[in-house]
């Protein structure tokens, strides 16, 4: 694994231990997850105990230690989305992808995550697919979006 980017990220924050969370965010933006080797490198550059780094990386929900799929699906389950049917969409997504939140499909195409609020409550239920927001979602729309991506991959016109 090429760890040069990690070096550059730590340089950017001038090896400041207090910038640990920002460093981890940048590392995750680069690799889409926090690889073991990268965390070890961060630990040695910041002269911190690896356990401390793991403590932070596992405490904050934005961080993931497992590789993510090609497409990332984030479903909002905030209160407004909840009362407007968010859980139904989650059930549909789990059924379609055969995974639980926090997991990635075996073919590494989709990662499913849930968050407590994306702050777009007025148009809930909200789903985010690869950083694009979709408002006023329902299970049928969710199914169509996944099917469209699957068809695209297989070269089928929808």
């Amino acid at each position: 694994m090429n760890l040069n980017p990690v070096d550059l990220i730590v340089d950017k924050y001038q090896e400041k231990r207090t910038a640990l969370i920002s460093i981890l965010h940048d590392v995750q933006d680069r690799y889409k997850y926090l690889p073991d080797e990268a965390l070890k490198m961060v630990a040695s550059r910041l002269r911190m105990d690896i356990n401390e780094i793991y403590g932070v990386a596992t405490f904050y929900k934005s961080f993931t230690l497992t590789p993510q799929g090609k497409h990332s699906i984030t479903l909002c389950l905030g209160t407004a989305c909840h009362v407007r049917g968010g859980p139904k969409i989650l059930r549909e997504l789990k059924g379609l992808l055969h995974i639980e939140p926090g997991q990635t499909t075996a073919d590494r195409q989709f990662s499913l995550n849930v968050v407590n609020c994306l702050g777009v409550c007025a148009i809930g239920p909200v789903m985010m697919l690869d950083r694009k927001f979709y408002g006023e979602m329902n299970p049928i729309m969710a199914k169509r979006i996944i099917e469209k991506l699957n068809n695209k991959r297989r070269g089928v016109k929808s």
């Binding site: 904050y60 407590n116 409550c121």
Partner: protein, 617 residues
């Protein structure tokens, strides 16, 4: 970009910008907030840009991408000035018509105007729409006018003038006094008097001192802080500058949650621009006062909205709260005096300094002054951000501004205060909204989320939702919160599965009491509130689940059955096609039937049925 070295420089810059702006006869402002982005406002903006360029109209017409005007549900929103025509649900396809009709000929495009649902009348200007009419938009109104990525736009509306006033006409103590007299209270939830907090930090011993802007906004259902920081970041910076001057701090931090990328980006741009022109940095406006701001990003932990946990997070540690016996104003960030306020609180500061504490305190109630922004969401017709004077009734917010019920189902309550708050029943909707009244009825102001619930919302399910939410988010430091919430969640799970028993409710109350009494931080202490308020106002719903094994709102899946009415079914087959478990049978044009043994109760059939033939019991 120029540098501003004095108040005179600032005034001159403003005049230069205004005279340049006069060249534009027409302004097209497109909302670029996160909500409108979900509806592809970028495409609308891109097409305006292309078409206006092609037609050679860019000299006459200015195109602005602004912050969120609040009516997210109707996005993308486009306003044409000076005609003041408010277009909603604008698609890229509509752009050529807006240009040819409105911009070139001054005519309205009727189908894009908002229609009054009662009078069936088209409304031209945003101010005449019921959603906006009863609002008092002191903070949010700037969002419609400025491009948050251009400091010039903020300068043009008189931005940073309050800073000049504070630095040159007021001593720090006078600034604090002004904020104290205004009666401004923290908008983050607890409502602590802002001026008093500043005064304590001002007097605290220790150097350096820090100011922090809390944009963690973890309460699900609230997004006013996101919109303010996204839409008008310089106002927050100006508030922080004034606060830092009053307190004696030279360094500030803006802590933004990870889920708000646009707010983070816009705040970062604002900081860079302010630095470049000299409004952040050394010797600001030639006053000798120096101040700078850094960004800090959260990591998706709800508890980090709590001030001591937030500080641990900025320090790069695990976000665990600590005891507040020694206040942050004395020992906060890195053990130094620290003043932390929420985004909306900071946004009020320049207004108060500019217009005076008397003016500010004339708005609101005796103990709650000024306006408050609420995010009105859930089962209500008009959803979005609503800024109202304190003391307005819930009824006015939900029915006049929100337009009342959404799809024919009666509204039965409103949840305020997020996971620390509670649900207020419709019978109390005459309640004036201020810090004290909401606390009195067992809820709280919180950061301003208002989630409307109707007959289709199960209050047991909502209570369960909050308990699971808090259980997930408990940092785990205190046992009562960590374990108690887990047990409460198990009891509520049981009840919603139809396995509740007669003792469950008293057990829930007992556990709640222990958690309230023995948790360390504010989040733990208030965690049982959603359950307690649901039990207080909606007890019959709990009892129906326990004694009759019935969910009156038809939400809890183990307790409900789907069926199709033979009379209403048209046999169109839409439900059969959409059913994920193939649990629906029936011939075309014949009445269909649900096989309850394989039905997964997902509700897709009910959502798609046009004849309203799918019933839930």
């Amino acid at each position: 970009m120029r540098t501003v070295k004095s108040v005179q420089d600032l005034e001159k810059w403003k005049n230069d910008i205004l005279s340049k702006q006069k060249r534009h006869e027409i302004i097209v402002s497109v909302c670029g907030g996160t909500g409108c982005q979900a509806y592809d406002c970028q495409k609308v903006k891109a097409l305006f840009q292309k078409e206006l360029n092609q037609k050679g109209m860019r000299e006459k017409v200015a195109l602005k991408v602004t912050g969120c005007p609040g009516f997210c549900e109707r996005g993308p929103l486009v306003t044409i000035y000076p005609h003041n025509i408010f277009y909603q649900r604008v698609k890229a396809e509509d752009v050529p018509e807006i240009i040819s009709e409105t911009i070139q000929n001054g005519k309205k495009v009727d189908r894009l105007l908002f229609e009054d649902p009662n009078a069936h009348r088209k409304i031209t200007s945003a101010n005449d729409i019921p959603f906006y009419r009863s609002q008092m938009r002191l903070l949010l109104s700037h969002n419609d006018l400025i491009d948050p990525t251009r400091i010039e736009d903020y300068i043009a509306i008189g931005g940073y003038r309050s800073l000049g006033k504070a630095l040159f006409q007021m001593r720090p103590e006078e600034v604090i006094e002004e904020i104290k007299i205004s009666g401004l209270r923290g908008r983050g939830g607890a409502g602590y008097p802002t001026g008093k907090k500043w005064e304590n930090c001002h007097h605290a011993k220790g150097e350096p001192k820090y100011v922090i802007c809390n944009c963690d906004e973890g309460d699900p259902g609230a997004f006013m802080d996101r919109s303010l920081l996204e839409g008008n970041p310089h106002a927050i910076l100006e508030g922080m500058l004034i606060g830092a001057y009053a307190i004696g701090a030279n360094q500030g931090f803006i802590y933004v949650r990870h889920e708000y990328p646009l707010a983070h980006k816009n705040a970062e741009i604002a900081i860079k621009q302010a630095r470049r022109v000299g409004l952040l940095g050394k010797n600001i406006l030639g006053s000798g006062f120096s101040f700078d701001v850094e960004m800090a990003k959260g990591g998706g932990a709800f508890v980090c909205g709590e001030s001591t946990a937030l500080i641990a997070s900025i320090e790069g540690k695990v976000g665990e709260p600590r005891s507040k016996q020694i206040h942050l104003v004395e020992q906060g960030l890195w053990g130094k005096p620290t003043n932390l306020n929420n985004v909306e609180t900071w946004a009020n500061v320049p207004l108060i300094i500019n217009k005076g504490s008397q003016w500010f305190s004339s708005i609101g109630t005796e103990k709650s002054k000024g306006t408050k922004i609420f995010s009105l969401v859930g089962k209500v017709k008009n959803t979005g951000l609503v800024e109202v004077p304190m003391g307005i009734t819930l009824k006015k917010i939900i029915f006049d501004i929100g337009g009342g019920q959404q799809d024919g189902k009666r509204i039965k309550g409103v949840q305020t205060g997020g996971p620390s708050g509670g649900c207020i029943p419709a019978s109390l909707f005459d309640l004036p909204v201020d810090f004290e009244s909401l606390t009195q009825v067992g809820s709280m102001m919180g950061s301003g989320g208002m989630i409307v619930m109707d007959e289709g919302t199960c209050m047991v399910d909502v209570a369960k939702y909050f308990v699971h939410f808090l259980q997930e988010e408990s940092c785990g430091k205190c046992l009562p919160c960590r374990e108690g919430l887990k047990r409460m969640g198990e009891i509520l799970d049981r009840i919603t599965e139809g396995k509740g028993n007669g003792e469950d409710l008293s057990l829930l109350e007992e556990l709640s009491e222990v958690i309230v009494d023995t948790s360390l931080c504010g989040l733990g202490k208030t965690a049982p509130n959603p359950v307690l308020s649901a039990l207080r106002y909606f007890r019959p719903e709990f009892e129906a689940h326990i004694h009759q094994r019935r969910c009156p709102a038809a939400v809890c899946t183990p307790l409900i059955q789907y069926s199709i009415s033979e009379v209403d079914c048209t046999g169109c087959g839409a439900c059969k096609k959409v059913c994920p478990t193939q649990a629906i049978e029936g011939e075309k044009k014949q009445s269909h039937r649900i096989l309850s043994e394989i039905c997964s109760k997902c509700g897709s059939c009910k959502d798609i049925c046009k004849a309203n033939a799918v019933m839930v019991q």
